[in-house]
């Protein structure tokens, strides 16, 4: 067993009296797809927001073992988590730059790299050549990802005018353009038809194989989860109720109980 990429230790996130995430610990390994599943309101998205810095957990530690050294994510600002730690994310309700073109969406994602190349845009303003080169590289990288998600033909269209499934894939491509070591996907298969969902599976497996990064996945669609994930964490009411390989999870009585419900114990007793 290799060293974990992401270590979540005793994380608790409280909203008033509600424990959205309660003393949760798990880890995600590099080059693996880790899925976080659970019924609605189980705290999956809250967990994501803690990992990507949009929320600061009250208790606990989130460590990312970046190739250049471990980083404590709960101490970083949301934008530095992407910039320094290399954690990229997508959103449950797609958040594209709707009125910008598809290509521009992918180039904005490479902001940090281009900022450095253009000396905070000042050198670029004067037309120095180093920026032109960096921009050409950015376009190349964007083209690579457009090919991967099959959106090359739409490169100059407005992102907001794309069909839903295309927008989902574009958001994944945009997150990948930041050059992450951990990609967090919040319900990537939501609203996709079975064919699109199968394509998504292929894309995610491909990303893992080619880029060797870790993937963290929130998903409701069991066909996606069971087919591609290496490791599954099941949440219910903010607590982890099971963790393990897909086959083990499928058979786990606690998971079945959380999903299907059971005769109420109080009633039975």
């Amino acid at each position: 067993m290799s060293e974990a990429l992401l270590d979540v230790e005793h994380v608790t996130m409280r909203f008033g009296g509600l424990f959205a995430v309660n003393d949760l610990s798990f880890s995600a390994r590099p080059q693996e797809i880790t899925a976080v599943i659970g019924p609605n309101g189980a705290g999956k998205t809250t967990l994501f927001n803690c990992i990507t810095g949009f929320y600061k957990p009250q208790v606990g530690r989130i460590t990312l073992n970046h190739p250049s050294g471990p980083l404590l994510l709960e101490r970083l600002d949301d934008y530095t988590i992407t910039r320094k730690a290399g954690v990229a994310r997508t959103f449950q309700n797609i958040r594209l730059f709707a009125r910008m073109s598809v290509l521009e969406n992918l180039i904005v994602a490479q902001h940090t790299r281009l900022m450095a190349a253009s000396a905070f845009s000042l050198a670029g303003l004067l037309g120095l050549s180093r920026y032109a080169q960096a921009e050409a590289q950015a376009v190349e990288r964007a083209r690579h990802w457009l090919d991967k998600v099959g959106l090359t033909a739409f490169a100059d269209e407005e992102a907001g005018s794309l069909p839903y499934g295309h927008q989902r894939r574009l958001e994944i491509a945009r997150a990948m353009c930041t050059g992450p070591v951990l990609l967090c996907l919040d319900e990537p298969a939501a609203g996709l038809n079975p064919r699109e969902s199968a394509e998504l599976n292929r894309l995610l497996l491909d990303i893992r194989a080619e880029n060797g990064i870790g993937l963290l996945l929130i998903e409701h669609d069991m066909s996606v989860v069971m087919e591609i994930s290496d490791h599954i964490v099941v949440l219910d009411y903010g607590r982890k109720i099971a963790e393990g390989a897909p086959t083990a999870i499928k058979a786990d009585p606690a998971v079945i109980r959380a999903y299907l419900g059971e005769p109420d114990e109080e009633e039975a007793g």
Partner: protein, 414 residues
């Protein structure tokens, strides 16, 4: 069809009724100076006219909509190449305008005024059109620029060319300072706070008697020189006049034309900057911020610096325009920097189509140029202006040129 016609008639009648209700107190009653003193007189025929015109107009618009509906989009977006050509044609025309036979001093002066607003519009466009921060206090930075030049030149005797960058930097500094309070706000709240900040600057200028001269303003501001050559009739001791140097007869037009070219150069600089910055990471980040701040954060973009840089950059161009204004007028007072100015500049940006450079030029021509050229209509000037605005809003509700062009295209990329 009958139902639609009835709906049209009802709509027109309602419009006429509202117009009549509004016209009654405003047009229908007038004070008459009689032999026994003032008395009220009626002018009810005018009320009927107003109601009739509005009802007829509503009917006409409704009928036009009905006949045009279903014929597809009336006007396709103008192609990219055409807009570029129009832009170059406009620049060429602006360059030769002062030498055209019909362009007298008066016209060049009006064109200068329009260009000031074009420049302010382009400056505000960075904040509103690109970064999506609704700034209602933009005139504050214009004022900072104007007062910076006036004070620096009067206190330290600095020349216009030295003061211009300093005024821009000072305005940008104010942009940063005033940007901080609005960092946490969004949308309408930004508008309210910036409006308040703009008023604060004006009130400070009005009351800080010792420095700004209070409501009396600052007069006798140094006029710009052409590389040290003065435009004055009698050049100052030890220097030569512009006309003398070039062997021309002295004419007051020289300065007017010089000022025109100066603001043209400044405005084109603003435009060039905007066109370039849209292709650079900062400009893209501004546009991305306008679209979705949370997505920006998730991509490693720090919204604080992005917002502040937009505020400061927009303010800098307002500062340039402000020092030009001060040197052109030779006199400034807080009167010139009221909220009305901010509203006009914002109207130019919105009417132009939020983010379109040429749209802003057209809007500035309409909003600033039109009232000037309507002066012959005397008291009906504002009526004609209002009518023109209504027509434009009917014809192009989202601004004159509202199509956005991507700053980079895959098919053009190497």
């Amino acid at each position: 069809m009958g139902g639609k016609a009835r709906a049209l008639a009802v709509d027109a009648a309602l419009g006429g009724l509202v117009a009549a209700a509004m016209a009654l107190p405003m047009l229908g009653v007038r004070l008459e100076d009689g032999a026994t003193g003032l008395s009220l007189g009626g002018r009810f025929d005018w009320v009927l006219w107003a109601a009739g015109i509005v009802a007829g107009g509503r009917l006409l618009i409704g009928a036009l909509r009905l006949t045009l509906a279903g014929r597809g989009p009336s006007l396709p977006a103008p192609p990219r190449a055409l807009i570029t050509y129009v832009g170059w044609a406009m620049v060429a025309f602006a360059l030769i305008l002062p030498f055209l036979p019909f362009a007298g001093r008066n016209m060049v002066d009006k064109a200068t005024l329009v260009l000031i607003y074009v420049m302010l519009g382009w400056g505000l466009n960075i904040v509103v059109g690109l970064a999506g921060l609704l700034d209602l206090g933009f005139v504050a930075f214009y004022a900072v620029g104007a007062y910076s030049y006036a004070l620096l030149s009067q206190t330290f005797g600095l020349s216009f060319w030295l003061c211009l960058p300093l005024a821009g930097m000072l305005a940008a500094g104010f942009g940063l300072v005033l940007g901080f309070p609005v960092l946490r706000l969004r949308g309408d709240y930004i508008a309210i706070v910036t409006m308040g900040l703009g008023e604060i600057i004006r009130v400070v200028l009005q009351n800080w008697q010792d420095v700004t001269g209070g409501p009396n303003g600052i007069s006798g501001i140094e006029r710009p020189s052409f590389f040290g050559l003065s435009f004055k009739m009698v050049p100052p001791e030890g220097s030569r006049g512009f006309a003398e140097f070039f062997g021309l007869d002295y004419s007051a037009d020289h300065r007017v034309i010089f000022l025109y070219f100066l603001i043209l150069a400044l405005a084109l600089l603003t435009n060039l900057f905007t066109l370039r910055i849209r292709r650079l990471p900062v400009g893209r980040a501004w546009e991305a911020l306008r679209e979705d701040e949370i997505a920006c954060r998730s991509l490693g973009i720090n919204p604080t610096t992005v917002k502040l840089s937009a505020f400061a950059t927009g303010a800098m161009f307002a500062g340039f325009a402000g020092s030009f204004f001060a040197t052109r007028q030779g006199f400034i007072s807080p009167e010139s920097f009221t909220f009305h100015e901010s509203a006009v500049i914002l109207a130019i940006v919105v009417l132009g189509g939020m983010g379109s450079q040429i749209g802003i030029v057209l809007a500035a021509l309409l909003l600033v140029g039109l009232p000037e050229w309507f002066r012959e209509l005397q008291q009906f000037r504002m009526l004609a202006f209002g009518g023109a605005m209504v027509l434009i809003m009917l014809w192009k509700p989202s601004g004159l040129l509202s199509t956005r062009e991507p700053a980079i295209r895959l098919k053009d990329a190497p």
